[in-house]
């Protein structure tokens, strides 16, 4: 810097003096920084900042899924007595027999042209 810069030097010196009147003490600013920093700001990595919300959201999701699962798979009703169990088995048996009889009538029916499908000379004498 050369001598002709004295005007600027003087101006900046006045600006410096004005700023020095306003500056907070170092210890006060340090304390304020610590106070405000721990209260509001966070320089933690994003993953750490989101750890708690993510854990909470996962727990809620698991709870909802578990609740829905219990709704969709009701446990079979316990049978009241042995007589009731026997009656139910009989009902099932009767239904099966009816079903079989219906199928019997269908399988018994033969088409009039079925004989054409039989291979020749296969009858046992």
């Amino acid at each position: 810097m050369s001598e002709p810069d004295d005007d600027l030097k003087a101006l900046y010196a006045r600006q410096r003096a004005a700023n020095e009147e306003r500056v907070l003490e170092f210890q006060a600013m340090r304390a304020r920084a610590l106070e405000s920093g721990f209260a509001t700001r966070s320089d933690k990595p994003a993953i750490l900042r989101w750890a708690w919300p993510l854990t909470a959201a996962t727990a809620v999701l698991v709870g909802v899924v578990a609740f829905l699962a219990t709704l969709r798979s009701p446990t079979p009703r316990a049978l009241a007595s042995q007589d009731e169990a026997v009656r139910q088995i009989e009902q099932i048996d009767a239904a099966l027999k009816m079903n079989l009889a219906e199928h019997q009538s269908i399988t018994a029916w033969q088409s009039p042209t079925d004989f054409l499908l039989k291979p020749i000379n296969t009858e046992i004498p």
Binding site: M1, D5, D7, L8, K9, L11, Y12, R14, Q15, R16, A18, N19, E20, R22, V23, L24, E25, F26, Q27, M29, R30, R32, A33, L34, S36, G37, R41, D43
Partner: protein, 169 residues
């Protein structure tokens, strides 16, 4: 250099650091304070560490400059948000409002007309009395580039100050 030594040196540099923070915030004292506060917090939390590769002052001023840049970006985003919703942003404390000296007010106004680099290099050399190479280190530019900003900034600042004097006379 241990942390206690760094702390005592930072304390010695505190007034200079405040001046630099205010300059990085375009002369806004309130924002300068906030920026310095956040910069201190970075050191406390270990987000900014002094590795001894440069002088403590240039390293510390670099941290403040970066913090001011990031905080400025955050403030601009906030103002853009307020603009979008038609709200009036809070008034900031600039030197113009607080200076009782007309000359200092004129300097503040003229400095805002300079480019960021010009304002930085002039502050670092005239206010902080750093050499051009130290200023270049803080600004993360070459010495040649710092010199160019210094010469152009000085010339432009004088022009602006003369214009203001002419208007007031």
């Amino acid at each position: 250099m241990d942390s206690r030594e760094i702390l005592s040196q930072l304390e010695a540099l505190h007034a200079d650091a405040f001046g630099w923070a205010v300059s990085c915030c375009g002369g806004d004292w309130h924002r300068g304070e906030d920026v310095l506060q956040v910069a201190y917090l970075r050191i406390v939390r270990g987000a900014a560490r002094f590795d001894g590769r440069s002088a403590l002052k240039t390293w510390w001023f670099g941290v403040i400059r970066l913090t001011a840049f990031e905080e400025g970006r955050r403030v601009r985003r906030w103002f853009a948000f307020l603009d979008r919703w038609g709200a009036e942003p809070e008034e900031t404390g600039t030197e113009c409002e607080h200076e009782d000296s007309a000359e200092l007010a004129a300097l503040g106004t003229a400095l805002r007309e300079l480019s960021e680099r010009q304002r930085e290099v002039l502050h670092l050399t005239f206010y902080q009395q750093l050499s051009l190479s130290e200023a270049a280190e803080v600004m993360r530019v070459s010495v040649g580039s710092a010199r160019q900003h210094y010469d152009r900034g000085k010339r432009r600042l004088r022009e602006l100050l003369q214009n203001q004097r002419a208007i007031h006379e």
